[in-house]
Amino acid sequence: MAETQNDETIKNETVAKPAAKKDKKPAETVIELNNVGVKFRLAEQKCDNLKEYFIRLIKRKMNYREFWALRELNLKVKKGDRIGILGLNGAGKSTLLKCIAGVLKPTEGSVTVKGNIVPLLELGAGFDKDYTGAENIFLYGSMLGYSKAFIREKYNEIVEFSELGDFINVPVKNYSSGMKARLGFSIATVVEPEILILDEVLSVGDAKFRKKSAKKLKSMMKKGVTVLFVSHSGDQVLENCNKAIILEKGHIIEMGKVDAVCARYNEIIEKK
């Protein structure tokens, strides 16, 4: 009971804030989330095959627990903003990013995104392990929506940045996880995206490459790319972002300038 009350107050806060912010900066809005809610149906027991499905259909035992991963979420991101998304595990951070990336359709509300998005999440997840690095550049690049001519033009740049050298002609299954991540990072960042989604990827590869990738990201940020950065760590957000939000149980409980929000986030962690 106490919790629902708590939710009410938070809701009011979330609705009020973006409206207030809108007046301050006249920059163009590139991402707009309007009253977004994502509902998951959690089956009490996993049911992913026909046999069980029919048994339960006959027994009339379709028990679902409904669960809102995001609820009544309003967010406006201006061009050039670098927003840190903080929250504990299960707060809805990944779900929020999936909505923005367009892979998950919200149950209610609307998501509007202007400009192309490059997600830097779990780099190298789209690689085919039997394919060589070179072939994967074309495969992964085309998954990100690059044209063939564009990939061909940037091919050398990608190989060079990834520092893979002769390994580029070896099947990816023989790569170390660091090498895979390096290649993924190089392919994803070769285009100049308007919106960049980062999921704690600043820790790619060895120390040397980490420096290089951080530098590349910094230079992209300087060019006015809009960034969404997900993290558990307040310090990382403080370093890279100018604004931040805190998610808790699918709601934005805090939103604003990065230092204030990070301070509040550290408070929350201390309390738990």
Binding site: N49, G126, S142
Partner: protein, 260 residues
Amino acid sequence: MNKFIKDFKKFRPLLGELIKKDIKLKYRSSVLGVLWTLLEPLLTMIVLTLVFSNLLGRGDDNFPVYILCGRLLYSFFSNGTKVALKSVRKHGSMIAKVYVPKYMYPLSSVISNYIMFLISLIVLVGVIIFEGVPITWYLLEALVPLALGFILTLGVGILLSALNVFFRDLEYLWTVVMMLIMYTCAIFYKVDSLKNVANEWIFKCNPLYSLIVLFRDAVFGRSFANDMYHVWFSLIFSFAVLIVGVLVFWRKQDKFILYV
């Protein structure tokens, strides 16, 4: 609809890449490479001919060519649907991260198998010439079963790929269904020669059998006139399945991410 066309244009290179990947990887580690596409049906034909060559009477169609017609179409349908069935789940990790039109996965699987099927038709041409089966203008009729075969496989493949996300045992169930389809395709025997013709309806329910009948008509220089049932049945069935497949896929695709 506008978004659909725009998306298709943007991701057409991806379709090409996926098709290329399928074909390249299938034969990468084998010494003979793509030659297997030709060798495999040829060897099956030889085995079936050795074992069953007296199943057809004298004056009937040339047996090796008869087998090959059925066998090639069947293996295209079988491989195409099996690969398409797994295609969406196989790319599950990407579906959860990057927006890609999801129909690209089953579509590319069916197209790549179709290309390999078209290559394997070279064997058929070779055997036709070797066996001295006369080549007639009726061969052009073959375009009908070849086109409908693609549509049928695509329809079934898209439907299965969507359902397989929700029901994982579909893969095993489909193997059983494929077995039924194979035995009712009359690949190495004639339906007329069966003793119990009461079961003929089973064959009439199998759209793939209809396509094989039409394909044989074309190869052996007969007009479709005697087999109009098979023309209409395969035509209607193929397009109906494609429409159902696309509708199911369309309506369920937003939920894939929750299950992959």
